[in-house]
């Protein structure tokens, strides 16, 4: 049996948390809460079962609880912000574009796309993490991809707007 080391799972948890929360501090807090919760619930994990999916499941659960417990972030539509924002450097245009479009996806589509495309998770594991049927994973994934493509194609020449809630650095 392969030994799945916890420490190897942490970078991916951090990455997903960062994109999920859009905030480096909030993301690390979420990862820490996840690891602590895992310590308390460890007896539920069985050797040989998928450690990564289990940790992501715990994290997603905590994230949803946080969302419920805290007042929702005020989301400002990018398009209402006009020109008031700083233009990013040009070489990062397409990356920022992607990031911006990603943040405009509905949350349930974004989580599926991130787990599958960014974290390279199997559909079954993504379904487990999000606690939804695999069929729902597939339909959300299809919608996420179609929507992301639309968004990207709508704004090829609009790289000057910074995403609103972006506090990545």
């Amino acid at each position: 049996m392969d030994r799945q080391r916890i420490i190897d799972q942490v970078p991916a948890l951090r990455r997903y948390a960062r994109v999920l929360t859009g905030d480096a501090w909030a993301a690390d807090d979420l990862v820490q809460d996840t690891l602590e919760r895992a310590c308390r619930k460890w007896v539920l994990w069985r050797s040989g079962s998928n450690l990564r999916a289990w940790l992501f499941t715990l994290m997603h659960h905590l994230y949803l609880n946080q969302l419920r417990g805290s007042p929702p972030l005020q989301v400002v539509d990018i398009d209402t912000l006009h020109e008031g924002l700083q233009a990013p450097t040009h070489d990062a245009d397409s990356a920022l574009d992607l990031e911006r479009c990603l943040q405009r996806l509905p949350a349930d589509q974004r989580t599926v796309l991130l787990l599958v495309a960014l974290e390279d998770m199997s559909y079954a594991d993504a379904a487990r993490v999000l606690q939804i049927p695999v069929g729902t994973v597939m339909s959300r994934l299809a919608r996420a991809r179609a929507r992301l493509r639309e968004l990207m194609e709508q704004s090829p020449a609009a790289p000057t707007q910074k995403p609103v809630l972006r506090r990545l650095k």
Partner: protein, 264 residues
Amino acid sequence: MFDSPQRPFDENDLHALADGQLSPERAQAIRAQLGADQAERVAHWAAQRAQLQSLYASIATEPLPDVLLTAANRLQALQDRQTQLWRWGGMAASVLLAFGLGWTLHGQWSGQPTSAPLPMASEQRFAQQAALAHAVYQPEQRHPVEVDAAQQEHLVQWLSKRLGRPLKLPVLTPQGFELVGGRLLPGESGARAQFMYQNAAGLRITLYLGALNGAGADETAFRLYADGPVPAFYWLDQGFGYALSGSLGRDALLALATAVHQQL
């Protein structure tokens, strides 16, 4: 879900293709049949994937803050303990349950239809308990036995008293096995003793014994119980059941069982 190469493909398969979640055969079969429009979409999604991964790649290579390292290490310690526990043949919980319930749940546990659990002779259940007890204690590093071989006299007196019969410790030194010690265990019909032996290579065998209700005074031949976590040879002798368990080949285990039997 996405396996058989010959099945006609649908939209989900296109996603699975872009996500690399198909078997190579299936992926190849689908690629060969893709229309231009489908191929373009798959390529677009794959590019989206690559772009996403490169966009956030740096986050995963940042050094971890101490607080996360500490939390991860604490969890790792728990995992190591748990893995150890399950690696004992994954049997610890089953054994406790089984001893507690007198094996009434056996059918369920072993995956046999619960509606019609196979009746198992008490000798067989005895052998099964022996094999499970072996799987539980054999990997134990710190507490393989309750009383170790250094207190052999005490061990024999104690277990003789608890099992209600003067016991003899078989000597397996000629076969390369030295006594590690022994412990007392609960059995279906009373106390059981487990003696553990170990050879120079660290391989452990256990002798499990105790009074069996309904076992007559007669002696039975050796029988092999092979459905447990390790094989066990078991036999009855004057109302007592004996089982010798170990991860050994049939012949080697039988030779040891014979040596034990001759000394009892």
